[in-house]
Amino acid sequence: MYDNPRFLLAGDRGLLAEFGASIDQKINQKVRQIFLSLEKTPIDGVTEIIPTYRSILIFYNPSLSDPETLKKEIVDRENSLDKWEIPPPETIEVPVFYGDNFGPDLEFVAHHNNLTPEEVIQIHTSGTYLIYMLGFTPGFPFLGGLSEKIFTPRLENPRQLVPAGSVGIANNQTGIYSIDSPGGWRLIGKTPIKLYDPTGYPPILLRAGNYLKFKKISRKEFLEIASRYRD
């Protein structure tokens, strides 16, 4: 964690504030706190803010603000975080059906780590994962906290189509595909809930800075939850 934020110009409408040099829960929690304070009480002239692992990008309208003013405001926020009454992070539970056709690589992940599929599921569901940030595709969470007992390399040849909701492992990361897309993660299961539901409220389920837990469900429960999305 830096003593003072480091500011970098990102063009003539963006200012990047960095709060540390690593992927670290404490740094990310500071990002979350400052981000939420900026949402609660916006700075004049700021048009959009994006939190990521260890930084916040502040878009501004140059006719209403400038980098020097923004830097001062951010430093002030950082020095007065306790008075902003930021609520603690929430933990969301994501139901997953593991294995079979929804998790075609579960056996491989187990074999690779000298575990049984049941043990892989037990390890995957016992973790609490920090949602460091969202991106890549709408609502896709970059999660931290995977147990090294189930680290598994990516597929050598990515699949042409991975269905939205698929839960996978790639090296030291675990994640959930938010839209149908090509992908090379080892798929261990699938969630019936939608991370990205453009006409839903909210359209994106997860928020950066919150936590996520996976919960094992049966095929019957999967179908029940999935049916709630059909109109």
């Binding site: 409408r13 959009e48 990521t52 692992y53 990008l57 006719s63 709408p138 938010s178 453009p198």
Partner: protein, 313 residues
């Protein structure tokens, strides 16, 4: 009211507006038009608000059959628009009538044309915008580019025909493009690479779309021994990534985060010029300071105001 039937969609034609704001924190990119000057002027010419939706046509424009009385303006790159086989004036508002045929013959200059209709292209707003985001399957016509057989609606409009942009205010889209940038955010990952970056001429590759433009040219080398990637951070339209192979990639409007170093960022006033660059065009970069960039932006806004004042309402 229905305004167009799509007979041919063109190479890549989408409905776009100013963009989708405040969803980038959720991984939804800003989207919207790439050349905002051409877009805003097109809307002004037909008497629209600044943020109404238009068609963005790329390289080969669409063939559109007019279904009802209306008013259009085509701006941006000159893709040689024709109305009933006669040249359609660009940067000018023109009345259209049922059974008119609007088509495009090919590129004369630039890469993207904007077709504004008085009243705006009327599609549902999704997450606060009508912009098409193809990967996310939202906006525009069912979240995809136009296809033959689509029928497009327009809203209520009030503009007048015969409004034109003064010649001296119409941008020239050259195939030899000078782009102004501000250094950073990761210019400290480079040393001699920075000089090389400004001394080089880059060619726009065929991998150039609304997500980004891959350039070809001299390899821009990172400092010796430095890690060539960064912890993923937000992407800004105009950010110039230098991946480990040293071939720069200009980020545009359909990306939210990335882990490559960005040597420089294109000033917002010049992003439209990138959007008007096509494969094979040459790009040179020139450094400006941030105060200068803000001054250029202010001048650009004044230019749009001047154009708006010159129009009859």
């Amino acid at each position: 009211m229905e305004i167009f039937e799509v007979l041919q969609p063109g190479a890549y034609t989408t409905v776009q507006d100013r963009g989708r704001f405040n969803y980038q924190q959720f991984g939804v990119p800003v989207c919207g038009v790439v050349d905002s000057f051409a877009y805003r002027v097109a809307n002004a010419l037909v008497g629209n608000f600044q943020d109404q939706a238009v068609l963005e046509a790329t390289i080969f424009g669409p063939t559109l059959k007019v279904l009802n009385q209306g008013l259009i303006a085509v701006t941006g790159g000159n893709l040689t628009p024709l109305i009933n086989n006669v040249a359609l004036p660009i940067w000018e508002s023109v009345a259209i009538h049922p059974d008119d045929m609007l088509q495009f013959k090919g590129i004369k200059s630039g890469c993207r044309a904007y077709i504004a209709v008085a009243g705006g292209i009327d599609v549902p707003s999704v997450m606060g915008s009508r912009s098409t985001y193809v990967a996310g399957k939202i906006g525009g016509i069912n979240g995809r580019p136009l296809v033959s057989g689509d029928r497009l609606n327009k809203g209520e409009g009030t503009g007048k025909a015969g409004n034109r942009v003064p010649l001296n205010l119409i941008p020239a889209y050259s195939d030899d493009i000078k782009i102004r940038v501000i250094l950073g955010p990761q210019d400290d990952y480079f040393s001699e690479g920075i000089e090389k970056f400004f001394a080089s001429t880059f060619k726009v590759s065929t991998k150039a779309d609304r997500m980004g433009y891959r350039l070809e040219g001299n390899s821009i080398m990172h400092k010796k021994g430095i890690v060539k990637s960064i912890i993923s951070e937000p992407s800004v339209p105009g950010g110039i990534q230098v991946p480990p192979d040293g071939q720069p990639i200009i980020l545009l409007v359909e990306q939210t985060v990335g882990g490559y170093t960005k040597i420089a960022t294109i000033i917002s006033s010049d992003i439209g010029k990138v959007g008007q660059a096509k494969p094979g065009d040459r790009i040179h970069f020139r450094q400006v300071e941030i105060d200068k960039a803000h001054h250029i932006l202010k001048e650009k806004e004044e230019k749009i105001e001047t154009i708006k004042r010159s129009l009859r309402r």
